[in-house]
């Protein structure tokens, strides 16, 4: 499939817009010198992923991303930034390592490896955006996947208790 045929489908233009926004936002997340901007740009990247999930028809996953990530996780990150008094000013000198080039080289190698390894297998395989609604997902979650579901809820409970125990002030001190 040539690029001209590919871009002729209107949903691919939507994809390109979303993908560009996501890549730009995630670059800001890793490059920004302002910690709060990095956390806020994560919202844009995650919102882009939610939009992609909608494009692929996974609507329940999309709204879960909006609720859990944008609603809870990013707020938690902002709390973490404020509590640990990370340098929120304009020019924090020690936010990044000085050795950027080896890291960029490794990231590039990772990209090349993953991209070639995954795209080789599926040359022009089409994906359709058939909707997987909340009802179908709930049916399968509580029948086929009920044990993993319970395990994951146990993991969440353990994380909750662990978070409280870790972050609580030690009364002995």
């Amino acid at each position: 499939m040539s690029f001209g045929e590919w871009i002729a489908e209107p949903e691919n233009i939507v994809f390109l817009v979303i993908a560009g926004a996501m890549v730009g936002a995630s670059l800001v997340v890793v490059l920004s010198r302002n910690v709060v901007h990095a956390a806020l740009m994560l919202v844009v990247a995650l919102g882009g992923s939610a939009a992609l999930f909608l494009l692929l028809g996974a609507e329940f996953v999309a709204w879960t991303v909006v609720l859990v990530y944008i609603g809870a996780v990013v707020v938690l990150f902002l709390f973490g930034i404020m509590i640990t008094r990370a340098p929120t000013g304009r020019d924090p000198a020690d936010l990044d390592h000085t050795r950027r080039w080896p890291a960029a080289l490794i990231a590039l190698a990772v990209f090349a490896t993953i991209a070639t390894a995954t795209t080789m297998a599926f040359e022009d395989t089409e994906v359709t955006g058939d909707v997987v609604g909340a009802e179908a997902l709930g049916d399968v979650l509580f029948s086929r996947y009920v044990i993993p579901f319970e395990v994951v809820s146990f993991v969440l409970l353990a994380a909750l208790i662990g978070g409280i125990v870790l972050a609580r002030k030690d009364p002995d001190r």
């Binding site: 994809f15 890549v23 997340v29 692929l56 996974a58 020690d94 990231a107 995954t118 662990g162 870790l166």
Partner: protein, 101 residues
């Protein structure tokens, strides 16, 4: 839509996350980059789920599991960062050489 466009985007986001994990010194920013990598994995899972269209919806279900575990990871991770900050008054991962031999 072909599946490769999602795979390439996910690989790009993942490698941006790898760069962030390697280059950031603040522990909170390292966790932010880990979230980027998990998002890339979720995009792959949902794209494969839309590609194979199976009756047990494995793509969406596993994306949900990844989201749940990521939420747990952020909670614990930030609690640990908070504890380290309280003990050493710094969230810089370079200074955490307590376990270095």
């Amino acid at each position: 839509m072909i599946v490769n466009q999602f795979l390439i985007l996910a690989a790009l986001l993942f490698s941006i996350g790898v760069y962030g994990v390697l280059v950031r010194r603040n522990a909170v920013l390292v966790l932010l980059s880990v979230e980027l990598m998990l998002t890339a994995v979720n995009i792959n899972l949902v794209a494969f789920g839309a590609m194979i269209q199976d009756t047990i919806r494995s793509g969406s279900v596993f994306a949900l599991f990844v989201i749940t575990v990521a939420a747990a990871e952020v909670g614990i991770g930030l609690a640990i960062v908070l504890l380290i900050f309280r003990n050493r008054s710094s969230a810089n991962v370079d200074e955490l050489d307590l376990m270095k031999w």
